[in-house]
Symmetry: C2
Subunit: 327 residues, 2 copies
DNA sequence: ATCCATTATTGTGAATCGCAATGAAGCACC
DNA sequence: GGTGCTTCATTGCGATTCACAATAATGGAT
């Protein structure tokens, strides 16, 4: 059948367990063969192997059929338990039912996403998955480690240099806008590059976008008149709404804040590289039904179009999950 | 690995279960290979098969080694339980310890054996196996069926035409003797054929020996003067001890009765075929430790020399158990 | 002794196995 | 970004095992 394992007692092949069960039940090698879908000679050979491995004749031929020995009777219970356990192993499925699930999902995101993405996620989850709790955590240097360890389930945003072993899916593209006071004395429906250089600005010193903005300014050797720097978005709408300062932001957060606070949104005159907001997760969880549900939810809520990830050797280094597209 | 069973979900090969366990424990295909005594490529192939059969990657490569997926974590407990059950199956032994055993043994025997064999068996059993109970049952036409079904464990005596599926072991040979009153008026130290024909006799109309005796008489056309027929041995000693009647018996029972009741034992002048007292048991119980113990006991108590059983096609129809000789 | 149904054995073409050799991948280091 | 190391995945191939048709052996009935 197979080479004897060098390190441990030979364990019974499941087919021999099935044979044991079938022969005990039917008392006939011929009937057991039919039951197991094999020929009678094959089953006779299996019986010989079973006898050798259990060191007992197990079944003795008689006019009444094959009768079990005391050892067969002693072993059949354990054999059937082993079979049942193997069947259970083969059949075990773990589905995820949002309507009944009780678990916590940790989502890494920038604090900007607290405004743009989290409210939609939360509203949806509260409606369809009442037992689910969402925890928002910061995107940072240890986000990849948190995704791998399972401390975080998914990351939303833009991570420029993710290790192997992670999947990513594009959600929506981002370009840049300027926010201005709706009653700004000098800025009406559009802003020129000249305006942009002249006016005073407020900067947010955090998040992915900040690094891209700073890079573009340096690249184009533009020195802005930065009247104020904020560590986050919290006070930004109040500042822009009561001063003549301009703020330059990724479109999504910009339009969202403008909407809530009655600010003016203008296309940014400065050419700044856009980027794609994506969701990221570790390959360990790729097939996990719970993780699939969460990612499907985010895709449903935020996905506009898909952009292929980076490639090497014909296979994605950071793979785009095909199955998510068919969900 | 092996053809997919046609009738049922494929169950995991125990080697794959061992791999699952080893990989979960070590986090390394290379280390798992060492543990399982296979090469690394072999184990990589096994892992591929495990992944296919469980429909999940199970372990994802990372700098920390192979990390389990949620499905692997969900299945490992059941996999380990299945492994444990298989090990238990491989290791299960059923010994028989006479000093502690509590069970009943049914021994088929003629009522003559109640006198010749049972007392020795009982004395021994009471000394070394206090929890064992002996039940003596009649040897008869259904003795083979009782041996096969387990209603009887062993039969002691002479069964002339036993079916297949039974073992037998010779215990001791039997020839014939005559019993006479120690104060018999005419019979002193020897009995002639003439004496035998002239004297009145008492016959026991039961047991194996009776048929042999009757056959011999008919074959030699001898008509005995039968003054009394008894259904069994019960009253025999009293009759022979108080009359001049002769009794013709197998030697063992004859000498035993003579010993107890002070009767005279004489070699039978009539040539009557001897026979061998054997113990018989069904092949189902051949390897059963309890049955082996009982048979060993009987051999120890009664065995004098061994006579081979009948043969056909080079193999005993009623097999002589070699292993019993080495016990 | 013959016959029947069932189990055991044999010979063989087909399938699968384990592993050496090597490619691919993940990461540390420069 | 390139290089090197360790580990996992893949390929090709000789060796081993498999299932089964054909048939022998066996247990019992007649």
């Amino acid at each position: 059948m197979k080479h004897r394992d060098r390190t441990e007692t030979n364990l019974l092949d499941p087919r021999l367990l099935r044979l044991f069960d079938a022969l005990f039940t039917t008392g006939s090698v011929t009937k057991a063969a039919e039951k197991l879908g094999q020929s009678q000679p094959t089953i006779s050979i299996w019986l010989a192997r079973l006898r050798a491995e259990l060191d007992d004749p197990l079944f003795i031929r008689s006019a009444k059929g094959m009768l079990p020995t005391p050892r067969a009777e002693a072993l059949i219970g354990t054999a059937r338990q082993a079979l049942e356990m193997l069947r259970r192993l083969a059949e075990l499925r773990t589905d995820f039912d949002p309507t009944t699930a009780k678990r916590r999902f940790a989502i890494c995101m920038t604090d900007g996403s607290h405004v743009t993405l989290l409210p939609s996620i939360l509203a949806h989850v509260r409606r369809v998955a009442p037992g689910v709790r969402i925890e928002a955590t910061q995107i940072g240097a240890d986000t990849p480690r948190m995704l791998q360890s399972g401390e975080a389930d998914v990351a939303l945003g833009y991570i420029s240099d993710l290790d192997a072993g992670h999947f990513q899916q594009a959600l929506f593209p981002q370009d840049w806008v300027c926010l201005a006071n709706a009653k700004h004395a000098r800025i009406r429906d559009r802003i020129t590059a000249k305006d942009f250089r002249r006016e005073a600005h407020v900067l947010i010193r955090s998040g992915t976008g900040h690094q891209l903005l700073a890079g573009a300014l340096q690249e184009q050797q533009i020195v802005l008149d930065v009247a104020l720097e904020l560590p986050g978005f919290l006070g930004l709408p109040a500042i822009v709404g009561t001063t003549d300062l301009l703020a330059t932001l990724p479109r999504h957060i910009g339009e969202t804040l403008a909407h809530y606070y009655g600010l003016r949104v203008l296309n940014c005159p400065l050419p700044i590289a856009g980027f794609t907001v994506k969701q990221y997760w570790h390959a360990r969880f790729h097939h996990d039904p719970a993780s699939q549900w969460l990612r499907g939810l985010c895709a449903e809520l935020f996905q506009q179009q898909e952009v292929r990830g980076l490639h090497r050797s014909g296979r994605p280094k950071k793979r785009v999950p095909r199955d998510l597209q068919s969900q």
